[in-house]
């Protein structure tokens, strides 16, 4: 039996197959789908989601969940817009927003770890809190205008095939690379896997559980803030009313990418594939026209169900007490 091997790689392979199938079908149905430009747009439009999903991947790998990231993103966008509006330079403003997001996440992590509160409940409260705080900053959306910010927003590098890679895209790709390294090449990353695999075992192995768990949620908060930055670079505005449901999209991307919701198994690269699947479905629906976004949710829901049941089936033979 190579059970663990199956658990480890099969989901990723299935994800890759699903993505290829999707691209194949979309390419056959809609001429012009398989162009670098389309691909670049998928990356650009989903950079925020990708960044959220990267943070979410670490949280899920550690055996937790973070439902607050969507509204935290909204809070961050409006905070950034307000700060720039108040005359702050975009760079310190972005740093401040990143710090706020990190602290927000770390606070949730501490509540979860030190008081043994269920992650979904704490981050649910966090979701409420961030939503309310976003509106406390501003009830309406605010446009961001600052010469340096505009420059960053309109910066792009043309990749071969004329595909424009924007600042948001670069942010996502850099973060993705960093996250892959963080997960694979650092002690912190491996501790996250260990914590999600079994907290008791991690404890007995003498791993720093408290630090790891708090850092994971802090990282997720930071990613929400960075995702907000990527989003404002696309929209050039902060909006307190967005964000609801993004946490679900991020979770779905991670799970479809092969990350086990019980923790301990998965990869950041898989999540990237999950984001691409999400983006491809959405873009294909746009190409089709008439279809509404309900199909996106349904497709994601069905993929989510399929992957969770698949993972359950793979992990089943281990425990067969009735």
């Amino acid at each position: 039996m190579n059970l663990a091997f199956q658990q480890r790689w099969l989901p990723t392979l299935v994800t890759a197959a699903v993505l290829l199938l999707l691209l194949g079908v979309a390419g056959a149905l809609y001429p012009g789908f398989l162009r670098p430009l389309v691909f670049a747009n998928i990356l650009r439009n989903h950079a925020y989601l990708g960044i959220l999903a990267v943070g979410m991947t670490f949280v899920i790998l550690s055996g937790g969940i973070d439902l607050s990231v969507g509204t935290l993103l909204a809070f961050s966008t409006i905070l950034l817009a307000r700060a720039i509006d108040a005359g702050l330079h975009p760079l310190p403003a972005a740093l401040a927003v990143a710090a706020v997001g990190t602290l927000f996440g770390a606070g949730q992590g501490m509540l979860i770890h030190f008081f043994r509160l269920p992650p979904f409940l704490v981050t649910l409260a966090g979701m409420f809190l961030a939503k309310g705080l976003a509106f406390a900053v501003s009830l309406q959306s605010l446009t961001i205008s600052h010469p340096h910010f505009d420059a960053a927003a309109s910066f792009r590098i043309l990749a071969p095939g004329g595909a424009p890679l924007t600042t948001a895209t670069w942010m996502f790709l850099f973060l993705l690379a960093a996250a892959i390294l963080l997960a694979r090449q650092t002690r912190f990353g491996r501790n996250v896997y260990a914590l999600g695999g079994s907290e008791d075992t991690a404890l007995l192995m003498g791993l720093p559980i408290a630090r790891t768990r708090v850092t994971v949620y802090a990282l997720s908060g930071l990613c929400a803030a960075l995702a907000a930055l990527a989003m404002t670079l696309n929209t050039r505005s902060g909006n307190p009313a967005i964000g609801l449901g993004m946490e679900l999209d991020a979770i779905a991307c991670a799970v479809i990418g092969g990350t086990l919701l019980t923790g301990g198994v998965g990869s950041v690269f898989g999540t990237f594939l999950g984001v691409l699947i999400f983006g491809s479905i959405k873009t294909a629906l746009d190409f089709h026209g008439g279809l509404d976004s309900s199909w996106l949710r349904i497709a994601m829901g069905i993929l989510l169900l399929a992957f969770i049941v698949l993972q359950r089936a793979l992990s089943r033979p281990g425990s067969n007490t009735n």
Binding site: F114, L117, F120, L133, L248, I298
Partner: protein, 338 residues
């Protein structure tokens, strides 16, 4: 071992009522006329009535959520179920389907979703958050599909009456919610179901060894939660006379979990109190209204909600109590110094 402290602090349904009374007293003191009721065109209006009407959908959802949480689970799909049932009703009504059939069809949608959740949880042993998360995502899409992606007007007199009608001078939705609450309470108290649910939630192994079909009970409870949410969806849609598939039931899962937890049913399962959940639901709605009365924009009201739910959870957390107690009394030395 000593008795569980939770039975003193968290287990009692008196606390949420006490909190509710305190909140009402605050309002009585600081917003004059808060309790003022008057008859307008033969209908009772005023803040308390407003709270009750607004809380009715939360109460309905919380009835199912209470039982689910009592089995140590949680149901995140209730908001999407509301959207699906409301959309189903709207579409069927537009097609001229009579009320009994559209009512049954809407509840069937909720029951089917709930049953699927229950089977995923009890049969495949997927954690409740995960299983119901799937339908939180999927259900919203199905609702939009049913409604064709846009808000649909409700075109059925009977259904509209459920959302906006009055019985004597009293609005119908809170009466229906209360009736559902009492009916559920009667069923769980008059049959052994309440005992079975508590037993399966408190100690599933022991319950199984005593011969309880724990898996079947769980499936049943999730199905019931789906039906309760479907009812809430019908009433909420009827109340605003439209079923908006993308907004109907949005965030209701949070309010319902909030109501249940604040109401005194612990997330660790076991004993539950429907009365407490009622108090919890009224508490959030009153809190929201209080904040608005104090001049807070309605959009910001989630902040106090979040703080209250965190505070209640902390009070129920054993770790927190240990630490809080430790602040007053130094723990005994772990070992003697060498």
């Amino acid at each position: 071992m000593a008795s569980r402290p939770s039975s003193v602090i968290a287990g009692s349904w008196l606390w949420p009522f006490a909190g509710l009374l305190l909140l009402l007293a605050f309002n009585g003191l600081f917003s004059p006329g808060f309790f003022q009721l008057e008859l307008v065109e033969g209908r009772l209006v005023g803040n308390p009535v407003h709270i009750a009407v607004q809380a009715s959908k939360i109460i309905l959802v919380a009835i199912g959520m209470t039982l689910v949480i009592a089995t140590r689970g949680v149901d995140l799909s209730v908001g999407s179920v509301m959207a699906m049932s409301g959309s189903t009703a709207a579409v069927l009504a537009a097609a001229g389907v009579p009320f009994p059939i559209l009512f049954a069809a809407s509840l069937a949608v909720g029951a089917a979703t709930g049953l699927t959740n229950g089977l995923l949880v009890s049969g495949l042993r997927i954690q409740p958050i995960v299983a119901t998360l799937i339908f939180m995502v999927l259900g919203r899409g199905v609702a939009m599909l049913i409604a064709g992606g846009q808000p649909r007007p409700i075109q059925n007199e009977t259904l509209l009456f459920l959302g906006n009608g009055h019985c004597w001078i009293l609005p119908l939705p809170p009466l229906l919610a209360l009736a559902a609450l009492f009916a559920t309470a009667a069923v769980v108290r008059l049959t052994p179901l309440g005992l079975f649910i508590s037993a399966a939630g408190s100690n599933e192994t022991a319950a199984r060894l005593a011969g309880l079909p724990a898996a079947r009970i769980k499936a049943l409870v999730y199905t019931f939660s789906g039906i309760a949410a479907a009812c809430a969806g019908l009433i909420a849609a009827a109340r605003v006379e439209t079923a908006d598939p993308s907004r109907l039931g949005e965030l209701v899962e949070l309010d319902a979990i909030f109501a249940v937890v604040v109401g005194g049913t612990a997330l660790t399962g076991g004993r539950f109190t429907l009365a407490g959940s009622l108090a919890g639901a009224l508490f959030i709605q009153t809190l929201t209204l209080t904040m608005i009365n104090q001049g807070m924009p309605p959009e910001i009201t989630p902040v106090p909600k979040a703080l209250v739910i965190l505070a209640v959870c902390l009070l129920q957390s054993v770790e927190f109590r240990k630490r809080a107690a430790g602040m007053f009394r130094r723990p005994a030395a772990a070992w003697t110094p060498p």
